[in-house]
Symmetry: C2
Subunit: 316 residues, 2 copies
């Protein structure tokens, strides 16, 4: 097989996933194994290098065809330098990922944060394929975001662009504190954590809800109860959807993307979440800023991370 190929690494706290993509972002091969973060950064970087070589060896592509290696990592980093300042997931502080991997592999290595990388994956060959300007939300434990402008990740001046979970969207009088120290961030209501918190609050204050019978409430439990007609669960889902829709209304007069993509575990709830998001978006966005704009689920699922990481070395 001829043509360039791109290797992506999705480096999580428990697993390393490596993927090989063709020039169109099609994921050809993957390999996954435990991170072994407890053995330290050097061990993890060795393992990544080993997986990268393995996946190329196993493919019908030669090492020479590899145009570059990208890695998505949760944490704070200096992206141009490829230096991870702090990754609580991995227990890392000041790890020179780019330099170390480039020495081990002899190929260009590029890193970026996991939410940006997932956004790039969806934009490259997922729900945003062919659309240059998209905004992606990743709804999980937190709310991640990624902004793709002209098919590239937009970083902002301090790498803080697209931190959509920290939009202070909840009015002050209703706001609770976010892990970031501010009040009323989107992530306090529209993440799995936020949804579970609202469920606990409802149960604690004695609201009449089937959620009271569940031991360890998850976001999925709340969506299931809402689908079964539980009014309290439905209100919680609507509140999570409301602030997502309002945040998109704001983004549409700032960035005016063509498409919003929602991924992450919470997005699997489906129409019960998407329908109210679209209603709120339509209600609060000026007509000129929403013509032809759509809100769609992510399509790559857990592969968005490896695909987007592979895409970090696309020609610019």
């Amino acid at each position: 097989m001829s043509g360039k190929v791109y290797v992506g690494v999705d480096l999580g706290g428990t697993a390393i996933k490596v993927g090989l993509c063709d020039e169109n972002g099609k994921l050809l091969h993957t390999h996954e194994g435990p991170t072994g973060a407890e053995n330290g950064a050097e061990f993890v970087l060795d393992r990544i290098a080993q997986y990268v070589r393995l996946i190329v060896d196993q493919s019908e592509h030669s090492w020479e065809q590899v145009a570059g290696i990208g890695a998505g990592i949760a944490g704070f980093m200096d992206i141009p330098e490829g230096f991870v300042k702090l990754s609580p997931n991995l227990g890392w502080r000041n790890v020179a990922v780019k330099k170390t991997l480039e020495e081990k592999l002899g190929k260009t290595v590029t890193i970026d944060n996991d939410a940006n990388v997932a956004a790039l994956g969806e934009a490259w060959s997922g729900a945003g394929a062919g659309i240059p300007n998209v905004v992606c939300y990743t709804l999980g434990t937190g709310v991640g975001g990624g902004i793709i402008i002209n098919s590239k990740i937009y970083q902002g001046s301090l790498g803080m662009a697209g931190e959509l979970g920290h939009l202070q969207i909840v009015p002050d009088l209703e706001a609770i504190q976010c892990g970031c120290g501010q009040m009323g961030c989107l992530e306090t209501v529209s993440s799995a954590t936020g949804i579970v918190r609202m469920a606990h609050d409802a149960v604690a204050r004695g609201d009449k809800t089937s959620l009271g019978l569940i031991q360890n409430i998850t976001a999925k439990d709340v969506f299931d109860a809402a689908k079964a007609g539980d009014e309290v669960a439905l209100r919680i889902v609507h509140r999570a959807a409301y602030y997502l829709g309002r945040s998109m209304a704001s983004l549409s007069v700032i960035l005016n993307p063509r498409r919003y993509i929602i991924g992450g575990g919470v997005s699997k709830a489906g129409e019960i979440l998407f329908t109210p998001i679209r209603e709120i978006f339509t209600r609060y966005t000026p007509e000129q800023a929403r013509e032809g704009v759509d809100i769609v689920p992510a399509t790559l699922g857990n592969d968005a991370g490896v695909v987007g990481a592979a895409g970090l070395n696309l020609p610019r």
Copy 2:
């Protein structure tokens, strides 16, 4: 004189201003005259062509050195086509500005909306010179905005990016209707119109304020009263500043620009406006998104429009 030169046209409802810039955005010559909009679009476009030729003739530059002509216009337009769909200021509907001027002048013509163009002017050779990512606010009758990414205007998918005046930033319970049809837009509080409205409200409800003695209250009257220690005027100024600061806190986790530039008539109020904006911005922006980020007044004043229009044809 050798080197390329760029011509900018600031097309307003009452005046046409044409400027000639060098390659560094230095404004070398200007010519200004009445728009004569009452004579129709053909007349106005003829007059623009005449002013453009005049200003080049009057300079020490040859017509061959002119790399392109840009025009900033208030209204809705198809920017790639250079077609004005609607400009209430000019009384225009469906005017092919680019095509007509290119036929008249034999040079590339590019148009954009006035707030974007003013932002580009400030970014090119004003308060944002040398900084690739800036966001500009123009505080006048309304609140205009412009987003500059990698030294270029960012349009968004429908040309609605940077419509910062229509960020719905005021909490619903405090919101009033905006001209755009939505509620609680930034421009309902932080524009001259918003400031004057709040002053009228205060007088009407009998608040104890020196503003009650003024016949036709202007935004400047409110700032002057605030500077003189009028508590009611001070509260109005703080409210206008508060929502500007909050909007910048939001923008800093979305776009994370390096600098905010504030221009337009209202910005001339100076420190009484800028100090509370900076305080609110600092209070509501996560630390990682505000390190080294500053909020500064525009420096080009009324020239931002012609300079930015000239900049529309810079090499990309």
